[in-house]
Point group: C2
Chain length 430, copies 2
């Protein structure tokens, strides 16, 4: 939220997302954030993301509100049914009629026929009239628009409003939208727009254990010039700090990045935007180490994070989720007397879990995690949020922590997973 | 996306989210979808979700565009720094001045002082001037507004624009926003607004294995009346169908729900909106069964889903992630000859994994999952996306599937996790 506000020379872009299901909260819009990231990466300035329902007036209003931008991207409303109204609304906004495009009609018709055959609900031959009506609707194109080939059944469009923004019309399903993005970037009107954008490389820093207020205080002391836009974001317990220079201010961005990295060096994870998970994977690969996990309260979230990355079989040996004391004994060789003497949630059991995971899976580095995720099970001595971590290695390194983490059950488990990845990274980096 | 468009008698609401970091795609807005769901549940109609940056003109424009609504909720921009501008913008929009509220000043001051002491960077005594300036800013309140107690340091506000919408001003961090929601609902102006909203209970159905086009075809055949709004949403591979009646159309909603449930009974999961995970938990508790998992390609995602729910220690015995053949043998007793004869990704190994998980953890029902998540490792016979599942129980039930799942690595793992939960439910339901 801490953002210096320079006069920004970048062209402005707006994203307009349609879909009534996004306004009931049934599902969260994924296209707005995805497009915002893509456009920011192209050095455009995203002005707004607007989500509207499948009502034509609302969509036209949203387009009109973005008339001052250089680029407007819409997602959704391209389906075969009558309530999918984006093409008509965009044509109204651009002031041009729509007409049937024969090539698009043929192309969509072939896709729909093939799809109907695969589903086994249509014979070869002419399309059923209900499907044909849908194909005809999807082949109506505003005069003068560039058609982008369908990824699903809906074609995309690129269209210029005379004197106004370039409009890119994309389908709603995120897979189709993202699949169509290379064609968007290749479309001549988009290439012409992007060719005129001044490039300015952003710097990105990652910190673990640095709070936003402390960073904000540092930024105030440093008196950041107006030519830099600094945004911060907390994700997976990491503070990501992005520094975007105006064209020509790249040296100032680099100097600020260096100063922040030096000032908060203890908490710095990376000065090039690489996050904990990727750094951990690289460190394990560098050392030719395999990792194993023994989880109780995190219930598999840590091993799932480790396996997320393609190629993880080169450094993940495996993991065990041991919820009961019996499973901790039988599957991970935690001594019954350790459990009895200290309780299942204790630094001693965390250490035995780490050693057990390492031994059982033949791994080089192991982590044990046991805690009280709540909502029940807390005591005065071991409240909800109390989590014990231990990382051990075959050559005798031991790193242990037992903080009380804040939040509800889901937050405690998420924070415990973040901290587990961070502790593994600390040890794997050596 | 299939939505009948009745004239809707519900009061309209708008959500305005501020935060420049949301427009760079650094993070996806969580508050818009959360508020949309909460407001829809209160029988309001959400008209739009708009995300704008920390620029005062953009925020005022967004408020002006929502002037026709009965309720506008803002999130974000309540921090102590100068770029957090929501209160000033809302006051401008409502046409009232802001003034220091002494009670809020004292309250925020106490919270900030306590917080500074806990962090160890301030002694007891008067606040450091930089912090005091922040407290003073956060205690500026539009004249006539109701102040909502801070959850973090920022107070919320409820304010009426003369002749216009009721405005609710909430902090940006999702935990603070959600924590303040009960106070919003208890505020007298909000209670008065909600008391006037005609209630109309929605119906919600869940299907697994039913595609949206097939459902759309059914809806077209049934000729859904305009008094019902039908929205569909695919989440965790489940198709959620919500039917919202206008007041008075509840019987039509119930009749449509019954018809859909009968027409697609094979795929029906629940007719009351309950999802697979909750149904599985209930089925396991009903039978007093414990579940254990043995995962390869899903790498802990299935056991993490099982443990997500509070109270899961009453039915989750544990799980093992066995990536290597060696781990499958040593940790789950998969016979070396089965691995050699059929390969690690095979129905035979999936079955041995299920049995091994059950035996090792002393569970009543076990699931084994082994597959090719990609991007590498696929062959002609076992392509990327080929995943073998087996569920077995102590009393001899065996349910096996080996589909080729679509998508990239992350999608294949997510779909495999969804299918695993569904197969466990099928068996646990008996």
């Amino acid at each position: 939220m801490d953002t210096a506000q320079p006069r920004d020379p970048r062209p402005r872009a707006a994203v307009v997302v349609t879909g009534s299901e996004l306004l009931t909260g049934t599902i969260a819009d994924a296209n707005g954030p995805w497009l915002a990231r893509a456009l920011t990466g192209l050095s455009l300035q995203v002005d707004r993301i607007q989500v509207v329902g499948d009502r034509p007036d609302d969509l036209v209003d949203a387009l009109a509100a973005a008339a001052g931008c250089a680029l407007v991207i819409t997602s959704g409303g391209l389906g075969p049914t009558a309530d999918d109204l984006t093409v008509d609304c965009v044509a109204r906004f651009a002031g041009v009629p729509v007409e049937l495009d024969p090539a698009t009609y043929d192309q969509v018709g072939r896709i729909v026929a093939e799809w109907a055959r695969l589903r086994g609900n249509a014979p070869a031959g002419p399309l059923d009239p209900a499907l044909e009506a849908g194909v005809r609707k999807q082949a109506m194109v505003p005069v003068g628009a560039t058609v982008l080939d369908p990824v699903g059944t809906a074609p995309g469009l690129v269209l210029r409003r005379p004197g106004g923004p370039l409009i890119v019309v994309l389908p709603g399903p995120p897979g189709e939208l993202q699949g169509m993005w290379p064609a968007v970037l290749a479309a001549p009107p988009v290439r012409a727009l992007l060719a005129a954008v001044p490039a300015a490389a952003a710097r990105s820093l990652r910190f673990f254990g640095l709070s936003e207020p402390v960073l904000a205080q540092t930024l105030r002391e440093l008196d950041v010039p107006g030519s830099l836009e600094v945004t911060t974001c907390l994700r997976h317990s990491e503070l990501e700090v992005d520094i975007r220079p105006e064209p020509g201010a790249e040296a100032a961005a680099a100097a600020l990045a260096d100063t922040l990295a030096a000032r908060h060096g203890e908490q710095l994870i990376s000065a090039d935007g690489t996050g904990t998970d990727e750094l951990l994977a690289r460190a394990l690969l560098d050392r030719d180490w395999f990792v194993a996990t023994a989880e109780s309260c995190t219930g598999g979230l840590v091993v799932a994070r480790l396996v997320d990355r393609a190629g993880s079989s080169a450094y993940v040996a495996g993991g065990t989720v041991a919820y009961s004391n019996q499973a901790k004994e039988s599957q991970l060789d935690v001594p019954a007397e350790t459990l009895a003497a200290h309780g299942a949630v204790s630094p001693q059991v965390a250490r035995a879990l780490a050693d057990g995971a390492r031994a059982r899976f033949g791994a080089d580095i192991g982590i044990g995690i046991t805690g009280v995720a709540g909502p029940d099970g807390g005591t005065a001595a071991k409240p909800v949020g109390y989590v014990c971590f231990c990382v051990t290695t075959g050559d005798g390194v031991v790193l242990a922590r037992d903080p009380v983490l804040r939040g509800d059950r889901a937050q405690i488990r998420a924070r415990a997973t973040d901290l587990a990845m961070h502790l593994l990274l600390q040890v794997a980096r050596g």
